[in-house]
Amino acid sequence: MKRAIELAKKESLVLVVGALYLWAGIAAPDKAVAALAASGRALVSVALIIFSVFLALGLFGTLVDKQAIGRRLGHGSGFKTLLLAAGFGTILVGPVYAVFPLLKAFRDHGARPAVIVTIITAWAVKVPMIPLEVQFLGWGFSVTRIVLTLVAAVVLGLVMEPLLRTRVPVAEELAAEPVTID
């Protein structure tokens, strides 16, 4: 029972979509079938690309020496370091739950917040997925989005650092630190 609940939680989107189709099937069977057919067509048209994307993701995950890169990004937050961080972000793969702890390890080894922010932002580029984006949205869209995302990665890194340093206490810090009056 507990496992069933956990599964339902993990695949809640599947349940929601299933329920929508069920409702559609009762309310307008013809349209539900048409929707299902459209879904199938969309999926088949990119199935091979999706499969290849994940094979590429596996390759990226295995080949990128995260520790070595972490050591290189461990010092400095100059423009060059941020460019390197942006480059690393584009080839970084994995879900939030794997990437954030990795970046925390970088930070604990001395990487500046600017570097962390730049990596996270550039992580939105996702090199192995570019063919999929191009397939759906075209080269012009994809290339422009990627270039602008890389620019934003460096800019956010530069902006984030001073913003983090200004002392505006957040609720968590207020709770954690006893109030002292100097």
Partner: protein, 162 residues
């Protein structure tokens, strides 16, 4: 239906990369393939659901609704809606593309859709507590807030270029 070779081309490229890796470090290629397939299997149900949504969108959501919420005529508000929907949506990044394409076909503004994609990957309302736990609330709120703004700016840029 016209046959589209993109998938085959990409598969071939990835296959060649695997062959190169297998020759240099034989142990790494199978490990990489296994990791990739495992990841695919774990998000396959979500993928199916997302494509299910694409079909529902095509048939049930009238273009006028997409136009009203995400159309170019709504200007800044559609840019904001795009970024907001992307922030709340918590799906695997590649799933954003088919949904974005469907919305574009339905008459959405390119800028709003680009903002949607960028915020889909950069701003995570659902993963905010995890990010805060990892880096602190201050960092998490600032980064997500700035990324939200960046998503809209990048959206405008893509809209201007295309």
């Amino acid at each position: 239906m016209k046959f589209d070779p993109t998938g085959l081309i990409y598969l071939t490229v990835v296959g060649i990369a695997y062959a190169v890796v297998a020759r240099r470090t034989p142990a790494k290629a199978p490990a990489a393939a296994k990791a990739g397939i495992k990841q695919l299997a774990s998000i396959a149900p979500t993928f199916l659901a997302v494509f299910g949504i694409v079909g529902l969108f095509e048939v049930f959501v009238p273009p006028s609704a997409i136009e009203r919420w995400l159309g170019a005529s709504s200007g800044v508000s559609s840019l904001f809606v795009g970024a907001a929907v992307g922030s709340v949506a918590a799906g695997p990044p590649p799933a954003a593309f088919p949904i974005a394409a469907t919305l574009l076909e339905g008459g959405a503004w390119t800028a709003a859709i680009a903002a949607f994609i960028v915020s889909w990957v950069l701003v995570g309302v659902a993963s905010l507590p995890f990010e805060a736990q990892t880096f602190g609330w201050r960092f998490a709120l600032l980064r997500n807030g700035l990324s939200f703004v960046a998503a809209m700016v990048i959206g405008l840029g893509v809209g201007a270029v295309l």
